[in-house]
């Protein structure tokens, strides 16, 4: 695999690592099965895309990407509040179906969405099944290398974001809020008796999760520069869930590892034999069944890798 092929994949793996961590917050830590993460991903990607098309300020340069990510997170968070207020009264499978429904409705709406091209595409209409595209990411931090195609905008920026999101979520996990979320997962009635405002804690997990997925959407747009509604199908949500399960429900570092492995796996298989790549979906499905049956804890269980390192070096987490 040449660098030319590798860097875009690395970039996408990082974006999916963020998505997997965001889903892990709501499904792994808080224990609410959510199948609509692709919906928030799409909302963020479209928000960032439309901002880039209509509102790019060339003078801002890379700051356009930051602006896009902030807007994407805000739009996804807004969606999650609107969806979450009624839906979070549901539990278990019903919540999964409701969020799945939201993601599909959003995708179908985006299929119908047609907008004027603005200053960038004055004579065209954008949106619809072909999606939206952009000529050059304003988030590019250095000129495009002539050998590489335009797609992999600063892979290291994506992985910097992965590290940032990881630290943020790990800190939350070992805080008052994280304990409340885990308490809801384990026993909602105990959580209520301990003074946890359960509906509010669920909503906060839902909103933080959606905002991160939205920010991942912004990175996705600026990476691919061309998105269409079919990028955000149900399979995307399932793939993210598979990453969470493989990495370990509640383990954010596990999600990063699992996202990387699962994103590169089909490519590796394609390298071994071109035919094998066609069976990607089948492999995912079998993997999910085998995992849930034989290895429900996933790679890391509910722990974090640095935890292990801490234990190896003899540092105890139990404070005096």
């Amino acid at each position: 695999m040449s660098l030319h092929e590798f860097l875009p994949l690395l970039c996408q793996a990082g974006i999916f690592a963020i998505l997997a961590m965001s889903l892990n917050l709501i499904s792994g830590l808080t224990g609410l099965l959510q199948l609509g993460q692709a919906g928030f991903f799409a909302a963020g990607a479209y928000a960032a895309g439309l901002l880039a098309i209509y509102g790019t300020v060339p003078a801002l340069g890379p700051a356009n990407l930051i602006l896009g990510a902030v807007l994407a997170a805000a739009v996804a968070a807004l969606f999650s509040v609107v969806i979450g207020l009624p839906c979070l009264r549901l539990t278990g499978d019903y919540l999964a179906i409701a969020t799945l429904g939201f993601a599909e409705i959003l995708r179908l709406l985006l299929n119908r969405l047609e907008l004027p091209g603005g200053a960038m595409f004055p004579n065209e209409r954008i949106g619809g099944p072909t999606g939206i595209s952009f000529t050059e990411s304003p988030g590019r931090l250095w000129p495009a290398h002539p050998d590489y195609n335009a797609e992999y905008t600063s892979w290291w920026l994506v992985w910097l974001a992965v590290a940032g999101v990881y630290l943020l979520l790990r800190n939350l996990k070992f805080s008052r809020q994280g304990r409340a979320w885990m308490c809801i997962r384990e026993d909602e009635i105990a959580a209520r008796s301990m003074g946890v405002d359960v509906p509010r804690a669920k909503l906060s997990a839902f909103v933080v999760s959606a905002a991160l997925a939205g920010a991942a959407g912004a990175l996705f747009f600026h990476h691919k520069l061309r998105i269409c509604p079919n990028d955000f199908m149900l399979m995307t949500s399932i793939l993210i869930l598979l990453m969470v399960v493989l990495g370990g429900m509640g383990s954010f570092s596990g999600s990063i590892l699992a996202a990387t492995v699962l994103w590169f796996l089909p490519q590796l298989l394609r390298h071994i034999h071109p035919k094998l790549g066609e069976y990607q979906q089948l492999i995912y499905a079998v993997l999910l069944i085998v995992l849930i049956r034989l290895w429900p804890g996933g790679l890391f269980g509910a722990g974090e890798l640095p935890h292990w390192l801490g234990r190896l070096s003899g540092r105890r987490r139990v404070n005096a």
Partner: protein, 294 residues
């Protein structure tokens, strides 16, 4: 006595005419209770008498159909459970509700949800306010574990503890909410004689050292008689007796509720006693239940 006068005397907790029906079943019917600070009060009665429902009504896990409750002269009827927990009423459960995957220490830390005053942002960025609060929480949580003799097991997953220690841990967690009123739902269920004696001592220390008022449901009559200042007896949702353990133990209606009517032949035979007046119950009146499934 007027309402206000009653509330003044029973300044910790006061409720009257609490009622709850499930479909056609009146689980709790006109329940009154007053608690003075520092009391240990027992709530007893046969299975299905509505004792746990009373706890659920007091702690807000279920909404009362009618009646009203005051805690520290504050009207708490209809408040959601987490608000009542914040005000200072904590409870344990008949079927232990611990967080099995979390460590023993983390289980206690959860209880500080009420008191930790830092936001999402402070936690996500590990601001100094967050670090300070977390250090404080860890220290206080360890203190409660030490109070119950669990400090050696702080790092273990809660699910790995033996049964008796799980009960203690749940007690530690309830105390860690810094509650002023503690409701214990069958704390001695499934414990052996020694463990029950230890638990009795712990509950006395909870009152004397922490100044916490205790209301407990218990079937172990020996423990209840020795520990409680006052008893309230429920049967089919109604209060049938109240008073000191000695008074309640001699109450004919209570004996009837537990043993059935004396004229019924089978009761006498089962008792093996032909005496006209059954002796006040000294032993547990029914086999102690093992941990029930949720």
């Amino acid at each position: 006595m007027t309402d206000a006068a009653i509330r003044k005397e029973f300044d910790l907790f006061f409720c009257e005419k609490l009622a709850k029906s499930f479909g056609g079943l009146r689980a709790v019917d006109g329940f009154d209770l007053e608690l003075r600070a520092g009391e240990i009060v027992g709530l007893i009665g046969p299975n299905g008498a509505g004792k746990t429902t009373v706890f659920n009504l007091i702690t807000g896990l279920e909404r009362t159909d009618s009646g009203q409750a005051y805690f520290e002269r504050r009207y708490i009827t209809g408040l959601p459970a987490h608000r009542i927990a914040h005000l200072g009423i904590a409870r344990t459960f008949q079927n232990i509700r611990l967080l099995g995957q979390l460590s023993v220490l983390d289980n206690v830390k959860v209880a500080y949800h009420c008191h930790a005053r830092y936001g999402l942002v402070a936690a996500a960025l590990r601001l100094p306010s967050f670090r300070r609060a977390e250090r404080d929480i860890a220290r206080k949580s360890m203190a409660f574990l030490e109070f119950l003799g669990l400090e050696g097991e702080a790092g273990k997953p809660a699910g790995s503890l033996p049964y008796g220690r799980r009960r203690r841990l749940e007690l530690a967690r309830a105390l860690a909410t810094e509650a002023k009123l503690l409701l214990l739902d069958e704390p001695a269920a499934g414990l052996n004689e020694t463990e029950t004696a230890e638990l009795t001592a712990v509950i006395r220390r909870i009152r004397s050292e922490l100044g916490v008022t205790v209301l407990l449901i218990e079937h172990d009559m020996k423990m209840v008689m020795g520990l409680c200042d006052r008893l309230v007896v429920l049967n089919f949702g109604r209060t049938i007796a109240r008073g000191t353990p000695a008074e309640v133990g001699a109450d004919p209606e209570v004996i009837e509720a537990y043993l059935g009517r004396p004229k019924e032949e089978c009761v006498k035979q089962a008792d093996g006693a032909e005496t006209a007046e059954p002796a006040p119950p000294k032993q547990p009146l029914r086999p102690r239940r093992l941990d029930e499934r949720r």
